[in-house]
Amino acid sequence: MHPLRKQRLIVVSLVVVLSSAAVGLVAFALRDNINLFYPPADVVAGKAPVDRNIRLGGMVVEGSIERSSTELDTTFWVTDYEASVAVRYSGILPDLFAEGEGVVAEGMLDDNGVLIATQVLAKHDENYMPPEVAAALEGKAALGEAAVLP
C-alpha cells in the first residue's frame, strides 16, 4: 500500500476505535448517572420515580428541622409552597443549611414518600439561589414568605 494511504488508514482506524470506545463508555455511564430534578409538588403528585436517584429542591419549611438526640440523623420538610416532602439525612449538613432557606437534596424516595438523602446542598452565599430552586418557586409564592407544614 502507498505509505501515505497506509498512514491515513492508521489515523482513521485509531479514530474509529477510540471514538466508539468513548461512545460506549458515555452511553454506559449516562444510563445510571443522570439525576432529574423534581419540585416537591411533582413528588407528591407521584411524578418522580421511586427506584432511582432524584434531586429535590425547594425551601426548608420553618420549624420542620428535627434532629435526633443520639445520632446524626436529621429530618426536615422541603416545600415549593404547593406541596411538601419530608427528607431524612444522616451526616453533617452544609453551613448555609437553615430553615426558610433554599436547599437541594439528592437521594431516593422510600415507600412512605420520604426522600432518603445521600447529599444535601445549600446555597453558597446569602444572596445566591440555586437556579433550579428559583425556577421551582417561581410564581408559587413570594420568596421568603413563611411556609407552613402540610
Binding site: 448517572n33 443522570i34 432529574l36 453533617i92
Partner: protein
C-alpha cells in the same frame, strides 16, 4: 474621583485596543510597515491603561470607598487588608478586570519577546489578541462596570467578602488560573495569524510552543491550587467534585495537553499541522466557554456570582463570533497547508497521536457531561444533573488507556521505530513494575486492592520508563554523567510525566483507602479511625478580626504517642452573618488527618467529621511537578535563538523569565 479616573483609563484602553485590532491588521494586508510597527507600542499602552484602571480599583478597595458598588458589595471595613486586596477579584466585575489585565499582560509579553519574529507575524498576532481584548473590555464597560457608584445613597459599611473567599488560596488561585486560561489566547492568536498568512510551517510551531507550554503550566498550577483550596476550605475533604466550574477549567487543560504534544510533532516533524491549528482554536474556545459558564450564572457554584442574563448573552455572542470566525477561516485556509511527511505506525508520531486522540475524546466526554444539563434545560426537557459517577466512568478508563503509551512515547524514534527496540528498552522496567505490584499485593500490610495494584502498575510503568529514559540520556559508558545533555525541555517533560504518575497514584490511593466518619462527640469522647485515636479535649469560643468562632480541640494519638493537637472552628462572620467551617488538618507526605465541625447538637455535643486521607498530598505534589515542569521548558536554548537573531540579543538571553 478615583473611580472615575479608573473608568476613564478603562475607556482609553478600550479605544487603544480597537486601534490595535484594526491598524496592524490593515498594515499586514497592505504591507504597510509603519502601520504594522505600531502594534507593540499599542499593545503595551493597552496594558498600561488597564493596569491603571486595575490599581485604581484596588485603591478603592483598600480605602474602603463604599460609594463604589463593587466595594460595598464585596468588602467591609473590618476585613483584613490582605483580603481587601484579594476581594478586588473576588467578584464578577473585578475578576473580569483581572482577566483583561492578564490578557493585556500576555499581549505585552508577546510584543516584548517576539522582536526576532517577522514583523507581519507580530502585527497579526497582536491584532488578534487586541480583538479579544476589545471583546472583554466592551464586556466590562457595557455590562459589568467595576467603577459604578452608589450615589448619593452611599452605605456606611460594606457587605463583606464571601467568607469562603477570605483565604490565602484565593489570593493566588484566580491569577494563576487566569494566566493559564487567558494565556491560551497566545497560541490561538499565533494559529489565526498563521492561517491568515497561509504559512503553517515548523517555524510557526516553534514560535507558538513556548507560549503554549507556559500557559498550560500556569493552568495546571491554577487547577491544582483550586483543588487544594476546595480540600481545606469547603470542609468536606474532597479534592475534585466534577463540578461544572471545575470542568470549565479542566476542559481547556485537557485540550491544552493535546495541543502541547501536537505542537511537538509539528515543530519537529512538520506533520499534524492543520490538526495543531484546530487544537489551538479549540483550546482557547474552551477557555471562552469556561468564562461563559462561570460568569453567566447558568451554573450553581461558588464561582457563580449573582447573575445577570445580559452578561451571559454577551459572552455567548462573543464566543460564537470567535469560534465561528476562526473555524470559517480554518475551513478556507487549512486544506492548502496539508502536509506530505511520511511516518509509520511504529513511531513517535503515532504514539503522540494516541495522546492527542485520547485527550480530545476526554475533552469531548467532559464537555458532554457538563453541557448536557444546560442543553436539556434550555430546551425545557427537564432539569438534569450529571454526577461524578458519569465522569469517573468515562474519564478514568481513558487515562488508564493513555498511561501505557506514556512510557513508550518519549523513548521511541521519530518516523520509524521497531517493536523489538521498544521491548529491548522497556523489558527491565516492565518486569520490575509487575513484580512491584505483585509484591505489594503479597507483602503489603493491607488487603489486596485491585485498583491500587493497577495504579501502582501504571504509575510505576510511567515513572520507571521516564527515569530509564533520563538515565540513558545522562549516563555514559565511562561512568561520567553528561548533565549537559539534559535540556530544559527534556527535564520539563520528565518532571511533568513523573508528576502525572504521582497524581494518578495519589488519586487512586486516597479514593480507595480514605476513611471518613460523621459522628456525634462530646468533651471526653474518644474515637478510632485509620489507626489513630481521637479525643475531644475541649470546646470553647474565640474572636477573630471580623468573626466569632466556636472551636474544639482534639488530641490525635498513635499508639499512645501524640501526633497533633487539632482545633477545627465554626466561624460566624459579623457582616454577613454567614457561617463557615474551618477544618483542622495535620498534613504529611503519607497521610492527612482532617477534622471538621458540623453543628452543635445539644448537651455540649457537636457533629464532627473525622477523616483519614492517605497520600492526598501526592495529588498537589504531582500537579506542582506538571506545572513547573511545563514552565521550565521555555528556558530551552532553541527558543532563545529566535530572539537572539534580532539586535536585542541581551534581552533575548533572559528568555521568557518574565
Amino acid at each position: 474621583m478615583i473611580p472615575e479616573l479608573g473608568h476613564i483609563a478603562l475607556i482609553i484602553a478600550f479605544c487603544l485596543a480597537i486601534a490595535l485590532t484594526f491598524l496592524p491588521m490593515w498594515g499586514a494586508a497592505r504591507r504597510n510597515v509603519s502601520a504594522m510597527n505600531v502594534a507593540p507600542t499599542l499593545a503595551v499602552s493597552v496594558t498600561l491603561f488597564v493596569a491603571i484602571a486595575f490599581s485604581l480599583l484596588t485603591t478603592s478597595f483598600l480605602r474602603d470607598d463604599f460609594s463604589v458598588a463593587v466595594v460595598a458589595a464585596n468588602s467591609n471595613s473590618l476585613l483584613p487588608p490582605i483580603f481587601k486586596f484579594s476581594a478586588v477579584w473576588g467578584n464578577h466585575e473585578g475578576s473580569l478586570l483581572l482577566w483583561v489585565l492578564i490578557l493585556s499582560g500576555w499581549m505585552s509579553a508577546v510584543a516584548f519577546f517576539s522582536r526576532g519574529l517577522p514583523l507581519i507575524m507580530v502585527a497579526r498576532v497582536l491584532s488578534v489578541m487586541g480583538f479579544v481584548a476589545v471583546g472583554f473590555l466592551a464586556f466590562s464597560l457595557l455590562t459589568s462596570n467595576p467603577f459604578e457608584r452608589l450615589l448619593p445613597s452611599t452605605p456606611l459599611d460594606g457587605n463583606d467578602l464571601n467568607p469562603l473567599l477570605q483565604d490565602p488560596g484565593l489570593i493566588i488561585h484566580p491569577p494563576l488560573l487566569y494566566m493559564g486560561y487567558v494565556g491560551l489566547s497566545v497560541p490561538f492568536a499565533f494559529a489565526i495569524a498563521a492561517l491568515l498568512g497561509g504559512r503553517l510551517d515548523a517555524s510557526w510551531a516553534r514560535w507558538s510552543r513556548p507560549w503554549t507550554n507556559v500557559a498550560w503550566g500556569f493552568l495546571s498550577l491554577g487547577i491544582m491550587l483550586g483543588s487544594w483550596w476546595a480540600y481545606y476550605e469547603l470542609g468536606w475533604g474532597g479534592w475534585w467534585f466534577w463540578d461544572p466550574v471545575e470542568n470549565a477549567s479542566f476542559m481547556p487543560w485537557l485540550m491544552g495537553t493535546a495541543l502541547v504534544h501536537s505542537l511537538a510533532v509539528t515543530e519537529k516533524r512538520g506533520v499534524f499541522r492543520s490538526w495543531t491549528v484546530l487544537l489551538a482554536i479549540f483550546a482557547f474556545s474552551l477557555s471562552l466557554l469556561g468564562t461563559f459558564l462561570v460568569r453567566s450564572g447558568v451554573l450553581t457554584s461558588v464561582h457563580a456570582f449573582a447573575a445577570d442574563p445580559e452578561r451571559g448573552l454577551f459572552i455567548l455572542i462573543f464566543l460564537a463570533l470567535v469560534v465561528g470566525g476562526s473555524l470559517l477561516l480554518y475551513a478556507m485556509r487549512a486544506p492548502s497547508v496539508a502536509s506530505r511527511v511520511f511516518y509509520t505506525a511504529i513511531s513517535r508520531e503515532s504514539l503522540l497521536m494516541v495522546n492527542n486522540l485520547a485527550f480530545t475524546v476526554a475533552t469531548i466526554v467532559v464537555l458532554l457531561g457538563t453541557l448536557f444539563p444546560l442543553v436539556m434545560d434550555a430546551f425545557s426537557l427537564g432539569k438534569y444533573s450529571v454526577g461524578p459517577p458519569y465522569f469517573n466512568a468515562v474519564f478514568v478508563p481513558l487515562m488508564a488507556l493513555v498511561m501505557p503509551f506514556m512510557t513508550v512515547g518519549p523513548l521511541s524514534r521519530w518516523r520509524e521505530d521497531t517493536v523489538g527496540r521498544w521491548l529491548h528498552e522497556l523489558m527491565v522496567p516492565g518486569l520490575a513494575v509487575v513484580l512491584l505490584a505483585a509484591l505489594l499485593g503479597i507483602f503489603g500490610d493491607r488487603d489486596f486492592n485491585v485498583w491500587i495494584a493497577l495504579a501502582v502498575l501504571l504509575s510505576g510503568w510511567v515513572s520507571l520508563g521516564v527515569l530509564r529514559d533520563f538515565w540513558r540520556r545522562v549516563a555514559s559508558g565511562d561512568g561520567r554523567m553528561r548533565w549537559h545533555r539534559v535540556s530544559p525541555s527534556f527535564l520539563g517533560m520528565t518532571a511533568a510525566h513523573l508528576g502525572f504518575a504521582v497524581v494518578v497514584l495519589g488519586a487512586v490511593v486516597v479514593t480507595q483507602l480514605n476513611e471518613e466518619r460523621d459522628l456525634r462527640m462530646a468533651v471526653g469522647d474518644v474515637e478510632e479511625l485509620g489507626g489513630y485515636r481521637f479525643e475531644l479535649l475541649e470546646i470553647g469560643q474565640s474572636q477573630g478580626p471580623n468573626y466569632a468562632a466556636d472551636f474544639a480541640v482534639f488530641e490525635v494519638t498513635d499508639a499512645g504517642q501524640r501526633i497533633a493537637l487539632l482545633a477545627p472552628e465554626k466561624r460566624r462572620y459579623f457582616a454577613s452573618g454567614q457561617v463557615m467551617t474551618e477544618a483542622a488538618i495535620d498534613a504529611s507526605f503519607w497521610r492527612d488527618v482532617y477534622i471538621a465541625l458540623g453543628e452543635p447538637i445539644g448537651d455540649d455535643a457537636w457533629a464532627v467529621r473525622l477523616q483519614y486521607k492517605p497520600m492526598v498530598r501526592w495529588l498537589w505534589l504531582g500537579g506542582l511537578m506538571i506545572g513547573l515542569g511545563s514552565l521550565i521548558t521555555v528556558f530551552d536554548r532553541r527558543y532563545r535563538t529566535q530572539s537572539a537573531r534580532s539586535e536585542s540579543s541581551a534581552v533575548g538571553a533572559v528568555g521568557f523569565a518574565g
